[in-house]
Symmetry: C2
Subunit: 145 residues, 2 copies
C-alpha cells in the first residue's frame, strides 16, 4: 500500500493530478484510511493503463467509461477489447502522421543547412521546384501532400 505522495513520486505526477483522476472516477473503489487514499497494486496498474490510454489520445471521460466497464466484469470484455483495438488504430495513424511530419522537418533542416552554408534564401527557393536531389525532393513532396 502506498500513500498519494509515494505514488506521485513514482509516476512523476503532481499529487493534485492524482486527486483529480480520483475525482474524475479514474480510480474507482480506491481504499481510504481515516480519509487518506491508500493506493494498492490495483491502482498502480490502473495508473499504467491511464497513462497508456492518455498517450493514445483518449479523453478523461472515456477513460472513466473504461474503468466503469472494468468494474462491471466479464460482460464488458468485448467493449474493452474494442476500445483497445480502436486505440491501436488511432496510435498507428498518429505514428504515420508523425512520420510525414518528420520527413518535412528533415527537409527543412537540410534546407536551412544549405541556406547557411552557401547563400541566400532566394537562391534556394528558386532551387526547390526542379533542381532538388531526388531524395530530398521526395521528402519535400511527402510533407506537402
Amino acid at each position: 500500500m502506498y500513500t498519494i505522495g509515494q505514488v506521485a513520486e513514482r509516476f512523476q505526477l503532481p499529487i493534485s493530478t492524482l486527486r483529480y483522476y480520483d475525482k474524475e472516477g479514474l480510480l474507482p473503489g480506491i481504499e481510504r484510511k481515516s480519509g487518506r487514499r491508500l493506493f494498492s497494486d490495483v491502482e498502480i496498474e490502473a495508473l499504467h493503463v491511464i497513462e497508456c490510454l492518455k498517450a493514445s489520445g483518449l479523453e478523461i471521460r472515456e477513460i472513466r467509461q473504461f474503468m466503469k466497464w472494468c468494474i462491471e466484469g466479464a460482460e464488458t470484455y468485448g467493449k474493452r477489447k474494442e476500445l483497445f483495438e480502436a486505440r491501436k488504430k488511432a496510435v498507428e495513424e498518429e505514428m504515420t502522421r508523425l512520420q510525414k511530419t518528420l520527413d518535412l522537418i528533415r527537409f527543412k533542416c537540410w534546407y536551412y543547412e544549405q541556406a547557411i552554408k552557401d547563400g541566400t534564401e532566394e537562391k534556394l527557393q528558386a532551387m526547390i521546384p526542379d533542381k532538388l536531389p531526388k531524395k530530398l525532393r521526395e521528402l519535400y513532396d511527402n510533407g506537402h501532400q
Copy 2:
C-alpha cells in the same frame, strides 16, 4: 490567389481557424483587397509549415516567433535551423513513446481476446506474472517501465 473559403476547403480547416491564425500573427503580411484576405502561394506554404510545426507539438506562440524570424531574413537562418532540429528530436521522442504505448495496447488486445475466448479475468490475471509466453511478457514489461 485564393479566398479564405477556398483555402479552408483545401486544408479542411474551419474559416474561423484561418482567421485565428492570422490574428495570432501566423500569416504575417498577408495581402488584402477591400478588407478581404488574399492567400498566395506564400501563405499556402506557410500553412503547410504551420501544420507541420503544430503536429510536432509546437505552440502557436512559438510558431509566431518562427514566422517573425522568416521576415527578419538571412540573419535568422541559424535560429530557424535550430528550431527544426529541436522539433526533429521532439517528434522522434514522441514516436518512441507511442511505440511503447502501442506495445501495451497490443498486449491488452491479446489479453481481452484470451479473456473472451477461454475464461474469467481472474484466471488470466493469475497468469500474467509468470506463465506468459516470452513475446507477450516482453510487451507487458515494455508497457510498464
